[in-house]
């Protein structure tokens, strides 16, 4: 287990380093970063000044190492637009997005695991068909359309839910549904497939043959094993959702990381863009690492291989 963990950890660190190189190189995509950073009405003199102060005149490798060391000590640079420390803005906005992501994931799991289990118990039944339909629709509908339709029904027509803001838990209902719905198909399919595999396995047959109650077999033996891959999928999807919340946060005017990312992209706030990509990627790496560990803990076969 320890060897496995160390190996995984090593890979995670390497991936994080690679991602940091990629995020760093983003600043060169726009051409001359000094011009971009100097911004609004800058003179040639200002630009040269920025170049010198930020060290854009040095070899790129030095710039990168500096940037990385700063990032490691929690200094992700300064946003010219927001007049603030990039790290503090990000960490201020991150919780909102995390809450949204968690609610969305919760919604997705509550909807998809029971459906997946039921579909696996009764393949080809009506419930299986319904589950399939939900999955297929979820894959085919643009998220912004779905979100705007939710607003149209729940807020304008029925006046049930607030549209924008993050003041109460009611504010999170529509964004969570809109964001979580897109994760539902994958989780449901995986739950169903896992359940079917487990249900046809020897030990379940044995358990049934021993005369255990069907519910005990289902929940105590089958679901516990079938859920293992779902755990790692959920972790991965949580990471995806943080990145995918851009559209949803824009529509519901939620001041989270996704909206910050979108605004930063629009005003070419390069340090902010770099930092958000880096933070989200690292977050994802941590999540997958934890999921791997959890999996290994739950399923001894993994850590042996």
């Amino acid at each position: 287990m320890l060897i496995y963990a160390v190996k995984r950890f090593g890979i995670a660190i390497l991936v994080a380093l690679t991602v940091s190189v990629l995020s760093f190189s983003m600043i060169y995509l726009s051409g001359d970063p000094a011009i971009a950073l100097a911004g609004e009405g800058a003179s040639q003199e200002d630009i040269e000044n920025v170049r010198r102060v930020y060290g854009f005149d040095r070899p790129i490798i030095f710039q990168y190492v500096d940037w990385l060391l700063n990032a490691l000590s929690g200094n992700l640079g300064h946003s010219n637009y927001l007049k603030s420390d990039v790290a503090s803005v990000i960490f201020e906005r991150l919780p909102t997005t995390m809450i949204l992501g968690a609610c969305a994931l919760g919604f997705a799991l509550i909807l998809s695991i029971p459906l997946g289990v039921l579909a696996a118990i009764r393949p080809n039944s009506l419930i299986d068909r319904i589950a399939l339909t939900i999955a297929v629709i979820g894959q085919a509908m643009p998220s912004f359309w779905f979100a705007l339709t939710l607003i149209l029904w729940f807020s304008i027509t029925w006046r049930l839910l607030p549209i924008t803001g993050t003041g109460s838990w009611l504010n999170f209902i529509m964004p969570s549904i809109a964001l979580g719905y897109y994760v539902t198909p994958a989780v449901m399919r995986l739950t169903r497939a896992g359940m079917m595999e487990v249900l046809s396995s020897d030990y379940i047959r044995t358990a049934r043959a021993k005369g255990l109650r069907p519910a005990t077999v289902l929940f105590k033996h089958a679901l516990r094993n079938a859920i293992i891959p779902v755990v790692s999928l959920a972790a991965v999807q949580f990471g995806f959702m943080l990145g995918g919340s851009i559209v949803i946060e824009t529509i519901f005017a939620i001041n989270g990381l996704g909206f910050l990312a979108w605004e930063s992209i629009q005003r070419a706030d390069l340090p902010m863009m770099q930092a958000i990509v880096l933070v989200l990627s690292v977050f994802y790496i941590v999540l997958t690492f934890l999921a791997d560990m959890l999996n290994a803990f739950l399923d001894p076969r993994i850590r042996v291989s």
Binding site: I11, L14, V15, A16, T18, V19, L22, M26, L29, S30, P123, N124, L132, A135, V136, Q139, A140, M141, P142, S143, F144, W145, L148, L152, I156, A186, R189, L190, A193, M196, S200, P229, S232, L233, A235, V236, Q237, G239, F240, L242, G243, G244, I246, V247, T250, A261, W262, I265, Q266, A268, M273, I276, V277, L280, S281, Y284, I285, T288, A291, D292
Partner: protein, 306 residues
């Protein structure tokens, strides 16, 4: 985590009792598969619209007449509705049906081209990793993990905004970003195949590695490849719609369906048909591609059925 993406659910088809000839069996599987048939028919219709757009459209997709804008479609109970514009006109008075036909071209082009690019990258990486294993596999796995950790929408938006948006740029950015599923699935499929008898015997008689890869491995993983290809094509089309919604997708006046939805979004609460028409088209296209993918898997790989 590599399991995450290979979760497509096999559709269960009741096992055949009698075993007729393989050809007849295949035909029966195809025609007996409702999802597959729906997918094929819808997709064929959209392809037809795209290919023959200049012939079947009532007008020119760029021809604007500002004084005749926002004519509702014919099923609307409105004095303005006219058979001249069966689906009405958009915010600039362009014929909506015509734009829908031409839009099919662009949406299909984006989906297909992005899928092709990502397919080439992903399959190459996946097959190499799966066949050679060991160090090669480790490196490829590392590349895949790195790619997966970068948020797709965010990176696509950032790159397009910094480099500039155009049809080609959107295709390249999407193609270069969404190859991960190809790589993951092709890798595990290749791993399953590489130790089978026909591969080991080909190795034994001294076939060259490229020959083994193309003649022995590829044909046997082709069905998974097609399935992933359909998923990614649908994925690319939806991503383009999301980019268009944020104003960084295909640039007007080109009519992609994603862009048509984005341009109509302001009227969402008032003239819902304006967004519903391209929305339904996009929905049908993505749905058809997905159904087709599921169908191909069921039909070509009956042994995967539960």
């Amino acid at each position: 985590m590599s399991d995450a993406v290979s979760t497509e659910r096999p559709i269960v088809v009741t096992a055949q009792i009698l075993e007729p000839s393989p050809g007849a069996l295949m035909r029966r599987r195809i025609f007996g598969h409702t999802g597959f048939m729906i997918g094929i028919v819808v997709l064929a219709t959209i392809f037809f619209m795209a290919i023959f757009a200049p012939l079947i459209s009532p007008g020119d997709p760029y021809d604007q007449v500002l004084s005749r804008k926002l004519i509702p479609p014919i099923w609307h109970d409105s004095a303005k509705a006219t058979w001249e514009h069966p689906l009405g006109t958009d915010l600039l008075g362009r014929d909506y049906l015509t734009r829908l036909f031409y839009g099919a071209r662009i949406s299909l082009l984006i989906g297909f081209a992005a899928m092709l690019i990502s397919g080439v990258i992903g399959t190459t990486l996946g097959v190499i990793a799966g066949y050679f294993g060991g160090r090669v596999d480790m490196v490829v796995n590392f590349i895949i993990t790195t790619r997966l950790s970068m948020p797709v929408v965010l990176v696509a938006l950032a790159v397009v905004s910094l480099v500039g948006s155009s049809l080609a740029m959107v295709i390249w950015v999407l193609g270069l970003l969404i190859w991960d599923r190809f790589a993951v699935v092709m890798r595990s499929a290749t791993m399953q195949v590489r130790n089978l008898d026909f591969v080991t015997s080909a190795q034994a008689v001294g076939c060259s590695t490229p020959r083994i890869l193309f003649a022995e491995i590829m044909p046997n993983i082709a069905n998974s490849l097609i399935v992933i290809a359909t998923i990614e094509m649908a994925h690319a089309i939806l991503l383009e719609a999301a980019l268009s919604f944020l104003g960084l997708g295909v640039q007007p006046p080109e009519p992609s369906w994603g862009l048509m939805i984005a341009e109509a979004k302001g009227m969402m609460f008032f003239d819902a048909w304006l967004i519903a028409i391209p929305g339904a088209a996009l929905f049908a296209l993505v749905l058809a591609i997905n159904l087709l993918g599921d169908g191909i898997r069921d039909v070509t790989a009956p042994e995967n059925r539960n």
